[in-house]
Subunit: 257 residues, 2 copies
């Protein structure tokens, strides 16, 4: 792989508040045009999970949620709204850790994460309705659909990632990760490539799409949807494409679940 000498990350301007049913590819294309950004071959579009979830109608009115007995009990332990806990459990395959103010689960897509990604912030509008936003149904699939649509519109092979921010087991603060990807190797396996001295690299599997997501997160800003789409320009890679599901460590390999 030839190293990337320079990388540019540009916020795509002019995106409106996203509503259920919105055509995200069309809105992103309009935003790119608005910013005089002409996507080129090899550009990566990083899209925040929240706008994908909103476009997919994954916003839930909490008043419609009836918590199960298990959710009520767990909600007491973790000191959260039982309706929120019900949604979290409905999106999860197992509870990994629970403590007051902490609920770490294995999401149905394999992500070990807080609250199954169910988010109460930035969900509005402030119409008095309490809403929670779930992760997209199939982020790799949505990344592929968006990539195909945008590549066709711009006549250039692009890549798309859908990003979220996850906590880490041993490090404080969240970092951007890719929960969906299409058009690039989300997991970049460089084992076998020689290092500068001809020694075969021992640990050389990189969470490529996660690093792109972390970079994009710096531009998106925390807790602010004003810049949910970021154009990443200048990356090069020569491995085969694979989806973000490749970034999920299988439970059988996991020593910490």
């Amino acid at each position: 792989m030839s190293p990337t000498a320079a990388l540019q990350l540009l916020a795509v301007p002019g995106l409106p508040m996203i509503e259920p049913g919105d055509d995200l590819a069309k809105l992103i294309a309009e935003g790119l045009a608005h910013g005089n950004l002409q996507p080129r071959a090899g550009d990566v579009l990083a899209i925040a999970q929240k706008v994908v979830s909103k476009a997919e109608g994954r916003s839930i009115d909490l008043a419609t949620v009836k918590p199960s007995a298990r959710a009520v009990e767990l909600a007491k332990e973790v000191q959260k709204d039982p309706r929120l806990v019900e949604l979290i459990l409905s999106e999860s395959v197992r509870v990994v850790r629970s403590r007051p103010n902490v609920l770490i689960v294995e999401h149905r897509l394999g992500f070990v994460m807080a609250n199954a990604g169910v988010d109460q912030s930035n969900v509005g509008p402030t119409d008095g309705v309490e809403r929670a936003l779930l992760l997209p149904l199939d982020p790799d699939g949505t990344a592929e659909t968006l990539r195909k649509s945008l590549a066709a519109q711009f006549g250039a092979p692009l890549a798309v990632i859908i990003t979220d921010s996850f906590g880490r087991a041993w490090r404080r603060g969240t970092a951007g990760v890719a929960i969906g990807a299409s058009g690039l190797p989300a997991l970049l396996d460089l084992r076998g490539n020689p290092d500068l001295f001809g020694r075969t690299l021992q640990v050389s599997i990189s969470g490529f799409a996660d690093e792109i997501a972390a970079a994009a997160s710096l531009v998106m800003g925390q807790g602010d949807e004003a810049q949910p789409v970021v154009l990443v320009r200048g990356l090069t890679w020569s491995a085969a494409n694979n989806p973000a599901s490749e970034l999920v460590r299988p439970a059988a390999e996991d020593m910490f679940r």
Copy 2:
């Protein structure tokens, strides 16, 4: 915090192979001049751990290492060179997980990581001597020393991070992290900032320096020291500075050690 609209990452060219005792600040300044890069206020210089370790003389000739009985025993279990295991143990305060081909420890600086960061790749030159490279003694301290020196040389307030690539508990592939930082908030605590709808953000502590390190890692390239220093331009922040040690989750808060 005003969002960052555009971010640029530029490899600093012209760095020589680093030798013990090298003046890294001087070599980086020369590289910047070589690339016609004039650092500005707010620029962040991301420096790969390996060149810091090399300049500090943290390269060890394996022939000089006498493995303890404990190292010999553990080496059998994890199928590694007993001398390497001795070095790993000498850099660690506890073994977190051990399995064939896996040795995850708590490094003396608190990092939970594979092999205490002791690295056999890219250590050369190929003089027949088998060497291993340890992490810098005090990466936050070194980041501060380098920052002061570079800021004085360029007359501009800069930030410096020292980067490494860590594995993650639940995700495959490594991602860049900051093991040293000076001149920026390594951990960015945005709790209490309102979101777009005035709701107070619930989870809003960002591993800011880790995300910068992940972004820089995309430019440094995997297993290649040709681009060990990256200039990151365009970040804005308004929180107080703190060192990379703030990114380490204290053992008392850790649910997975």
